[in-house]
């Protein structure tokens, strides 16, 4: 039996765990530069995580099992998702069993439990955050599925590895359906990972926060896991975008050199994605919550247009 795919699988998860925080660090560094501040360095997220892990967990009196269970679940789904998305190689055993729809539902499970846990303690912020999060999710998820379906229509499969392989062998870049889907995907990524203009990851301003409001009651290793998971989520969405829209460089053969090259290209593309993200974030202001329907509505529109132009124009 060929062990190579399993090795790749494990390698991918390890990279996800290791590079996830660094990617967030990279985005923060870039943002500091863009705003003319001095940054805390690429490795600040690691230090934050270490600090959190070494602290005690403080639980509210009326916290139920959901509250304690949530950090592990969120972390677990992120790791699992890392096994599905072709980050380094397209030859993944998990990818054969799970396709894009599974991936989306993995994220949905994590979100569901986050919202539950937010309401579990019964504080006002938790409930408010949960309701906002679900509002965003209910708008973002259809758009996300639509964008990914457009891609799977274009590549005639819902398997991520297959899509990536097809695009790599692809004849054309200038397909309107793919461009539309990509634009929609970028908008959704901003919403799903809680970036500006949907949410601001850097503040705890009560009127605007969404994701932070739900996890306000967490501390210690629980908070560390959640933070780590959300860092991984940003990494995963970027990796997903890369795998579907710009997979060039991802290894498709069992070759050490290819994997090394894949790693190199991945870092390069991540760096570029970070720049794009920072450009968007510095260029835009945070939206009012009521404008979000329009923002995500446009994401849905773009995705649908992508699908339509697949039928009409291709």
């Amino acid at each position: 039996m060929n062990l190579y795919p399993f090795v790749m699988e494990i390698l991918q998860v390890l990279i996800l765990l290791a590079i996830g925080p660094a990617f967030v660090g990279w985005v923060r560094v870039l943002k500091c530069w863009a705003q003319g501040r001095s940054s805390a360095g690429l490795f600040q997220p690691y230090r934050d995580l270490r600090k959190l892990f070494s602290k005690d967990v403080v639980l509210a009196e009326n916290a139920s099992w959901i509250f304690r269970f949530m950090p592990y679940l969120v972390f677990g789904t992120a790791v699992l998702a890392g096994g599905i998305i072709p980050i380094l190689s397209t030859d993944l055993p998990l990818a054969a069993t799970a396709d894009v729809i599974v991936l989306v539902s993995l994220f949905a499970i994590a979100r569901f439990f986050t919202a539950l846990a937010g309401m579990d303690i019964g504080t006002a912020f938790g409930g408010m955050g949960a309701s906002r999060e679900m509002t965003v999710a209910s708008l973002a998820e259809p758009a996300m599925l639509m964008a990914i379906f457009t891609m799977s229509l274009a590549s005639r499969s819902t398997s991520l590895s297959y899509m990536a392989q097809l695009v790599m062998s692809g004849q054309s870049v200038l397909r309107p359906s793919i461009v539309f889907a990509l634009l929609a995907f970028i908008l959704i990524t901003l919403a799903e990972t809680g970036r500006i203009p949907v949410d601001n990851p850097a503040t705890h301003l009560e009127l605007t926060m969404i994701h932070e409001a739900m996890i306000l009651e967490y501390s210690g290793r629980h908070l560390a896991l959640i933070e780590w998971a959300s860092m991984m989520k940003l990494f995963l969405f970027t990796a997903l975008g890369i795998a579907v829209f710009a997979p060039w460089g991802i290894a498709s053969s069992a070759d050490l050199l290819a994997v090394a090259a894949a790693l190199f290209f991945m870092l390069l593309k991540l760096g570029a994605a970070g720049i794009v993200l920072v450009l968007i974030e510095t260029g835009l202001a945070k939206m009012r919550l009521f404008r979000l329907t329009e923002f995500l509505g446009s994401a849905f529109l773009l995705a649908t247009l992508g699908m339509l132009s697949y039928f009409i124009l291709e």
Partner: protein, 221 residues
């Protein structure tokens, strides 16, 4: 540039034209609208030139230049000047129910696709699939004129419709005969002057360009 690549470029430009149409549908700011309109004209002009190149129809170059000068330069400039003269740069229009409008827009795209199916079947041109997009642009311009209540916006919707029609002519038939295209351009130009005069009339009479105020003529009174 072979046929396949050209078809792809034209499709891509068509998609951008459609995107501009949707953008105009929900854009609130006056300048934003004018810029989107100019972009749409630009994509239109490029795609006309590409079609002309591929099909070897040289009169399309003339229409391409005509579009460029009229829809990308002249009309946006006129609108710009008008907006400045009327001092409505800052005016922001309330657009009701954006998601709903977008959904209707999508339905219109599907409807146009369905409607142009017979043409697509018998046409042999590389641009045949673009006709659906062109009709959709016309329909979205129509939708814009219905949903928006500002005189300037309605006019931009009208001009966007004209863009769609022009696009239809290029994509269905490689362009209408030149005399017709020139005549249509002339009509658009005259229309531009007339709506310019109109803006001033409306503005001085109603103190605003909101056409909602024009509701005196009703049945039975």
């Amino acid at each position: 540039m072979n046929i396949h690549n050209a078809a792809q470029i034209i499709s891509f430009l068509a998609a951008l034209v459609l995107l501009c149409a949707f953008g105009m549908l929900v854009q609130r700011r006056m300048y934003g609208l004018i810029h989107l309109f100019a972009w749409q004209g630009l994509f239109l002009s490029i795609s006309t030139a590409v079609v002309g190149f591929v099909a070897g129809k040289h009169h399309l170059y003339i229409s391409s230049v005509l579009t460029l000068s009229l829809k990308v330069v002249l009309l946006p400039y006129i609108l710009h000047v008008l907006i400045q003269r009327l001092k409505i740069q800052k005016e922001v229009e309330t657009v009701v129910n954006v998601p709903m409008t977008m959904l209707i827009g999508i339905v219109l795209v599907i409807f146009s696709y369905h409607l142009t199916a017979p043409v697509r079947e018998i046409s042999t041109l590389v641009t045949r699939s673009v006709l659906a997009i062109a009709l959709a642009t016309v329909m979205i311009g129509l939708l814009m004129m219905i949903t928006r209540r500002h005189a300037v916006t309605q006019i931009i919707g009208f001009l966007a419709m004209e863009n769609g029609l022009f696009f239809a002519a290029t994509s269905a038939t490689y362009g209408m005969p030149l005399v017709v295209e020139l005549g249509v351009a002339l009509d658009v130009l005259i229309a531009a002057f007339i709506f310019g005069i109109f803006f001033f009339h409306i503005h001085t009479t109603f103190d605003s360009l909101d056409v909602e105020q024009m509701a005196r003529l009703k049945e039975g009174d």
